[in-house]
């Protein structure tokens, strides 16, 4: 009788534990048990829509997408997919860490405002909610037979939700550094940079961490704006956006301190870049927020073949290996050229 009672108790306990793990609304990070099979890129059902990565004739013709609008990444993936590199994504928008096409590559999370692991706080603002998820997926959505793929599908992610105080911002970057990230991707910005933040970004660069920042979506030539945007700092790589016509996007901010362009898409929805959306969904989106994680992913590929590269060398390689597309002398990233040059550097 006692034996049966014990068995029932154990069964109830096991069921409760399983139910807890299956809670897809859980906002706290739990390590993912990765015993899934190895998928290849052609298994990704939405890869055909990823014009930012590769040319798909049928899709390109239907949506008037230039055949060279992509970043030439397929050959780079034959060399590396970013294994062994950790990328930190710092974002003030929420992450959906249980998304089917992201969870596998998350190794840690941190909320710098509340000093805990919860990075899925919702704000009931569609402009903010899910922003972190979108950018994290573009860096390292895994090849898992679901949805799409990030630029570095075998890189690992540390997802960090930043706060609005200088203290929380410092803590976010410090956590990224301590987590072993070699790249920090930031799809946000400000023109009101506190000196202590600027100084810490320089310190991280001096320690070999490459930080990428989005240039912004106002269409400004930043050279003629008062003050400095965070994406223009010498300690970071400033990223602007190209569009589906393989031109510099009209909305992107640009200037002599913006280093490189990457696909950010068109604000016309179907010509945006396909990304992860909330509740295990996918949709098109656009902006320099999109170009930045794609660049971070390419840098992860570069570091995966040559971990000794410094942030300045990475900037130099990105520019040297890029494709000329625009009239403002900022070129578009070419992933295959960049990875090959990084490997032989």
């Amino acid at each position: 009788m006692i034996d049966i009672f014990l068995k029932i108790t154990l069964a109830v306990l096991l069921f409760s534990l399983t139910a807890c793990n299956m809670d897809t609304n859980s906002s706290y990070y739990e390590p993912y048990n990765d015993n899934s099979p190895h998928y290849v890129i052609k298994d990704e059902p939405y890869f055909k829509y990823a014009w930012h990565f590769a040319y798909n004739k049928k899709f390109a013709q239907n949506y008037n997408i230039n055949k060279n609008a992509h970043i030439d990444i397929e050959e780079a993936w034959e060399i590396t997919r970013g294994a062994g590199v950790v990328v930190a994504v710092i974002d003030s928008g929420s992450f959906e860490i249980t998304h089917e096409d992201l969870q596998r590559n998350i190794i840690d999370t941190y909320n710098a405002s509340y000093n805990n692991k919860n990075v899925s706080i919702k704000y009931d603002d569609p402009k903010i909610d899910g922003h972190g998820l979108v950018v994290a997926g573009l860096v390292a959505s895994p090849a898992n037979g679901k949805g799409l793929i990030g630029a570095a599908p075998e890189a690992k992610l540390v997802l960090i939700q930043v706060g609005s105080s200088d203290e929380a911002t410092l803590k976010a970057f410090k956590y990224a550094k301590n987590s072993g990230a070699k790249i920090i991707s930031c799809s946000w910005g400000t023109r009101n940079i506190s000196p202590i933040i600027e100084s810490y970004l320089q310190e991280l660069k001096d320690r070999g961490i490459t930080i990428v920042f989005a240039s912004g979506n106002d269409g400004y030539n930043l050279d003629y704006r008062r003050g400095k945007d965070i994406s223009e700092l010498p300690s970071v790589i400033g990223v602007g956006a190209s569009n589906e016509l393989n031109r510099q996007a009209t909305y992107t901010n640009y200037g002599k301190n913006i280093d490189i362009l990457a696909p950010g898409g068109n604000t016309n929805r179907s010509r945006g870049v396909l990304a992860l959306f909330e509740n295990n969904s996918y949709d098109y989106t656009a902006g320099t927020s999109i170009a930045t994680p794609i660049t971070a992913g390419v840098i992860a590929l570069m570091l995966s073949v040559n971990l000794s590269l410094t942030p300045d060398q990475i900037r130099e390689i990105l520019i040297q290996s890029s494709d000329e597309i625009g009239r403002y002398s900022i070129n578009k990233i070419n992933a295959t050229n960049a990875v090959k040059l990084a490997r032989d550097y």
Binding site: K174, G189, P195, I196, S199
Partner: protein, 129 residues
Amino acid sequence: MIIKAISLTLLFYTLSWGEIYYFAHQERVYLNKLKEQRFIDDDIIEYYENQDGQRMGVKREVLLKCGVNKSCQQIFKKYNLKNIKNITSSIFLITVKKDDDVFELSQKLYLEDNITISHPNFIKKYQLR
């Protein structure tokens, strides 16, 4: 007459910014206090704007950075600063006592030899891009 009027306007404009400032890159950044206040966790956040119209909240905290291989402990003692938190090995967060002025303290600390950066712990709105 016109020059006088312009000069007076400029003078009035400059004076209107008062003495609320912090140091950035060895220059004073003047701020104008706004009427807005917010309460977060029993703490009053007061809002200011700089001459470019950028808004920022100010907590009763100062962030400072000690120079490379310098110690700031003597300075903390000199100003009787007790509530000090390490953010990194060289960056500290100091909670300002109720009777002290956060800008005044950050200005005094900035002028100390071993301190390279000192300003209030600002709250700023980041733009998602």
